[in-house]
Amino acid sequence: MLGKYSKHSNIFTLFIIMISVFVIISIFLPNKFLTVRNFQSMFSQIPEFGLLAIAMMLAMLTGGIDLSVVATANLSGIVAALVLTKYNIFQTGGYEEIYTILLAITAALIVSLICGFLNGVLVAYVGVPAILATLGTMGLFTGISIIVTKGYGIVGFPGKFLYIGSGTVFLIPIPMIIFIICVLAIVIIINRTTFGFSVFMLGSNPIAARFSGIRNENILIKAYMVSGLFAGIASIIMISRVNSIRPGYGEVYLLQAILVCVLGGVDPSGGEGNLYGLIMGIFTLQILQSGFNILSFSPFFKKVIWGLILILVMVINFYREKESPKLLKKV
């Protein structure tokens, strides 16, 4: 982006924050934090909410928000789980199993694309504010998940499928590899395609975008579909890592995804934000998360902290904006 240089200071600040968090936790918890096992576990956790954060970022860049990311991931995960358990009659583990797994993944991704498409249509064509559209679809997707599973969890997937969530290649967890591939893909999509460029421009000023020949409806639908797709990919990693899925799993990810976005410098009003910031936000959050786990903080206490950090980031952003030089107002 031509505009990225002005954002350098922001990214630098984030980098300092990330390193400081890392150093502080390393100093206080050296034996438990700085271990290969801990890093492996961190690397297998990052992809789940990292992908959801990227999904959230896409919606935010267009000037909207996607409150249905976790519900989308859940529904896709449940569809995949149903395929896996229903077709998994061959306990032998031959080609049939691979076939089942591929079918499950495909089904999950298609479902996630449909979810995103629905959000996109509501926002782009019907003109529903993104908050309410995705709040509604969040209820809808969760509702479908509950009806399909009758509220129970689905457990026990084929061994080969679990490899996706828990296997490693040269000590690197497979989820991390998937994540890296996804990040590279989204970097290219956002920074080097006409679609990505249009997303930024539309998010910055939808009216000017329309006047410049951008088809806003198309871009919005695509953006929400890509957002859905990333939620779908996250769901595959999610269910294969914990070998189960139940409706409502991972609700905390919604807050974390939004938190990572605002921490990473994505402007909730649209048009501003970059992936380098987002990724540093993701790592910072995971380092903290890992520290809290080592300190065995309760999930409730973590909830408090995530909420506080979210608010703190917004307050800091408020002061940063205030301090940036006042520009010539419309005279």
């Binding site: 006409t194 000017a208 006047f211 501003e272 520009l327 010539l328 005279v331």
Partner: protein, 504 residues
Amino acid sequence: MPENSEKFLEVKNVSKSYVGVQALDKVSLSIHKGEIDCLVGENGSGKSTLIKIIAGVVQPDEGEIIINGKSFKKLHAIDSIREGIQVIYQDLSLFPNMTIAENISLNQMVERKRKIISWHEINDIAEKEISRINKELNLEEKVENISIANKQLVAICRALTQDAKLIIMDEPTTAIAKKEIDFLFSVITDLKKRGISTLFVSHKLSEVLKISEKVTVIRDGKLVGVYNTKDLNHDKLSFYMSGRKITNSAFNYQKEKLEPKKPLLEVKDLSKKGNFQDISFKVYSGEIIGITGILGSGRTELALALFGLNKPDSGNIYIDGKLANIKYPKDAIDLGLSYLPEDRLNQGLFIKKSIGNNIVVTVLKSLLSRFNLINNNNKYKSAKEWTEELNVLAPSLDTSAQSLSGGNQQRIVIAKWLATNPKIFILDGPTVGIDVASKSNIHHIIRNLANRGMGVIIISDEIQEILNNCNRLIVIKEGRMVKEMDTNEVSEDKLLEILSRKIV
């Protein structure tokens, strides 16, 4: 000038600068009780800043403001209101979701620090004010459903409820029709009888000459002078405003040299219900066509229709003799049409984005290289080429558009369209809010484009702009073409008369 009556407001040597821009430089202004004054200046001359200072919304860097003999070094909004100064901004600041009655009365309630609302009182106040200006309005109607002219009257009534002694109206006539302007003027004359002064801010000279007793002219943030209206005429005033003799050198259309046979653009019987009707005209290569008419006449709606943003009900558009099917702006761009919109800040620019991104947004496809990915070098080259071509003054291509002056911003919008290499360029209000120097530079750019064979359409309500830059002009009134003629056949006065004449 009513010398006998006392001064209500006196602004003395007020200066104000924003980051790097001297918006006002030692400007003075005075208004007597019951006087109708005008503040004139071209767009960007500092009028708005001066109003804001009088309203107490903006604090001047230096100078003094005296209201009713009381001197204020720092005038706050609340002081200004208490002293009886009411500003009616162009956006009117009404609440669309509330009724007319409440819009009129609410500010008074707020000012009197009321805690409890009496709806009887609200209706009584509103009814009284409305009847005092001899108007009938349904008080229970929500403001979002009434016409702009009526909204304006609501805003005036609201100002009157707050014991206004001076009402400042910022460009009140831009969005309303002739008949409504006449009614507005009769209201202002009535106010004078009640001892209320009016400061009328405008750049429309004929109206200024008609309504005012005294005119204060500012240019480039400096006071040009204060004149009695009876000593002024159109030419003098326009000279004071622009600082130069307007030489009526019309744009010289080089028909002989270009010898176009078929029109670049032909519009045939284009109609859209409630917008415009039976519009037909042709634009040839190298021509600059002016389309003029007041706001709401359908001029912008017509341009939007050509650009795929306002689907016409019937009629055809031909480009290069071929029937054009324009559904979206993209289609128009692909056919060689460009449209510089009326509202630069909202429609033309991505104000927070860099200059570079603002320019290349229309030509994304041409930036692609291997694997259909955007090549940042192409992007940089393309943007640089156009900023140099149009002399955009900016530290770098990464500078965001919001830090530029109006003139430079507009040059960027022009650049973004020139990058698409258009055959036909429609410019809607190309110099609104732009300082004099930049204005003539932009006119120069437009003329050059035409000389290179582009077909240009300028939409403007500035008569001078149309007469000086176009070879042909079309007058639109209430959605219909009322006149089409060569600019050298018509004088300014004649055109004014056509514009204000009623349709039979």
